[in-house]
Subunit: 372 residues, 2 copies
């Protein structure tokens, strides 16, 4: 159980991604209804637009976007390295140009904490450098050590500043080191020595094989404190999530349910449903008969298919609601199975079930969250 | 009060447009919440996609789209003449090619009723020819007389068929005759002689000056039976609606609130708000402090502006919810003022109020409803 001033979060938990202060095509009241206990905000995007002046004027991100449950914000590092026009990386921080208007900006570890203070998120993340994959050992080592020094500076900044809106803000460290065991171990050890409220594994789900992801995850969680939250960033498919829970992960975020939903792909307990498939043309049953979400309670596959064929915005809304419901249900059910002491049996049965139906439909998943 | 098997509709009433079996960016439960008493469906679009086989399989449009309140369907005539590739117009009906895939189709007055039986709408409309504006008297006269003969055939078809799903279906006639008084009078008289459940005025809001629209509306309503509903098709701005209520109109439909909403324009009691305007950047008040809709209860102008600047789908959703709420509130308030015997005073004050703020912002309003 993760405790914040905006409420408790039972783990394992899936965090819907609200990159720009909005989860795409889903209203905050709908996020509450579908069982989202915590959502993600993106520091890079919110810093560039609407900007910290407006966010501070609103009284923080919670009030700005009308979301009263917990928010985790990433540090912006991932987007600086993947979206912006990177102009310079130094010990001090990064210089980049905005992907929106090309304006020049600088982000330092201290600045990342300051921005997150302005956002008022319940969980802040340290600034890290995200190396590409694959990455040679020398680069990975230098990068990991830089991230470690930045993590320390973030911690010092967080310790010497206070929240702006009266509610507490935790700070998580981020483990880097590519897929090189000794670097991951050193990164984990270094962060634990500094001491954070929780530990995240960054730099995975960037193109490496799933087996590598699981191996590194296992290696990192083994070296983390047992009573602090563990967050695997940007992961992943339902299968990835169940396997990573098994390896000790508590928190997940991914654009996969919303992005694929907007692309007509629905997740269900018995596998993926590509609703554009002609077989659903006059299928008047719900996407998932066991799902309690608004979409499944109310609409048929035939109707949802029609919405996508007719390019109706409602299709994006109803698919996003369903897929997020499914992901939140999945991690909630994992928790129940863990508490009942039957996680492995449950996981095995669930993985089998998840591989039914249109399993061949490829997922859309290119890196982390972007504005589009 | 309009009585249907799916519930009563207090008039005057604004009907949100659900062209393709969905009101753009608004869920059915949200339409109920915002006070929509009846919505519109489009026969041309639904006939082409998903098609009558699927709609009949679903048990009609109400069940297909999960809307349990009344539905009015237009006949498809307007879209055949404005959207399709028209291939031939004859006494028998129209031949056209689908705007979606170019496939050939034929629509007759009898066919229009048959399709609407399949849709199961509470109110069906007769098939009419929609002449262009402006239009010479000879063309307008021939066209009006053809529409009148088609109206009789629709009536005969409706009289000789029964609803498919057990709930009653009314049939409305449509007055044509361009802006030529004697043709409008003859059309009204001819339709009243045939005898319909209600009367609509078609062929207005197609580019003529507002003064012409009001003159023709007045002329038509004067010749309509007093105890049957009167529907002004495709109208219009808040001002148009208040003026037309004054001239005896009970029912309105228009894409203006949703289409303009998707274009960042919000209606309010004190005028239009173009939310892209920089003056709203750090305006943390609601769009309309007197509005009870979800958008105004929950979000600030600054946040809504951010959503549009960031191209978030939620902006389209929240603007559509607000604008439809506003239109439904406007006609509800008109009803209250009428029942209280103070319509003129209320209208005068409201028109003055509506002209505040960003009134200069042009509205997006090109003809009737299309798929986009």
């Amino acid at each position: 159980m993760l405790t914040t001033d905006h409420g408790d979060v039972p783990t394992p938990v899936f965090m819907p991604v609200g990159t720009q202060g909005a989860v795409k095509a889903v209203e905050p009241r709908e996020l509450e209804e579908l069982g989202a206990a915590i959502i993600l905000g993106n520091t890079y995007h919110l810093y560039l637009r609407p900007g910290t002046r407006i966010l501070q004027g609103a009284g923080g991100l919670h009030r700005f976007m009308a979301w009263n449950r917990p928010i985790l914000t990433d540090s912006g590092g991932y987007q600086v390295f993947s979206l912006s026009d990177l102009r310079g990386l130094s010990e001090e921080g990064v210089e980049f140009r905005s992907h929106i208007d090309g304006s020049p900006h600088r982000l330092t570890p201290e600045g990342a904490v300051d921005i997150q203070r302005t956002l008022g998120s319940d969980i802040m993340m340290v600034l890290d450098e995200c190396p590409p994959y694959p990455c040679d050992e020398e680069y990975a080592s230098r990068s990991m050590n830089l991230s470690l020094r930045w993590a320390r500076r973030c911690k010092e900044r967080a310790d010497s500043t206070v929240p702006l809106y009266g509610s507490g803000q935790a700070l998580f460290g981020i483990i880097q080191g590519s897929t090189i065991d000794r670097l991951r171990e050193a990164s984990t050890r270094g962060l634990v020595d500094i001491g954070f409220d929780g530990y995240a594994i960054g730099g995975l789900s960037v193109g490496e094989p799933a087996s590598e992801m699981y191996r590194i995850t296992e290696l990192c969680t083994a070296a983390m404190p047992v009573n602090q939250p563990r967050y695997l960033m940007g992961v992943g498919t339902p299968e990835n999530i169940l396997e990573s829970i098994d390896r000790g992960i508590d928190m997940f975020d991914c654009v996969l349910p919303t992005r694929n939903g907007r692309n007509a792909l629905f997740f269900s307990r018995s596998g993926r449903v590509n609703i554009r498939n002609a077989r659903y043309e006059d299928d008047f049953g719900p996407i998932d008969p066991e799902c309690a979400c608004y979409t499944c309670r109310t609409f048929s596959r035939a109707y949802l298919r029609h919405l996508f064929k007719a390019r109706e915005i409602a299709g994006l809304q109803l698919a996003s609601i369903h897929n997020l419901s499914f992901y939140c249900w999945l991690t909630r059910s994992a928790r129940e199975a863990i508490l009942a002491g039957r996680y492995h049996a449950w996981k095995t049965a669930m993985l089998q079930s998840l591989n039914g139906m249109d399993e061949q439909t490829p997922l859309t998943h290119v890196g982390g969250d972007s504005a589009s």
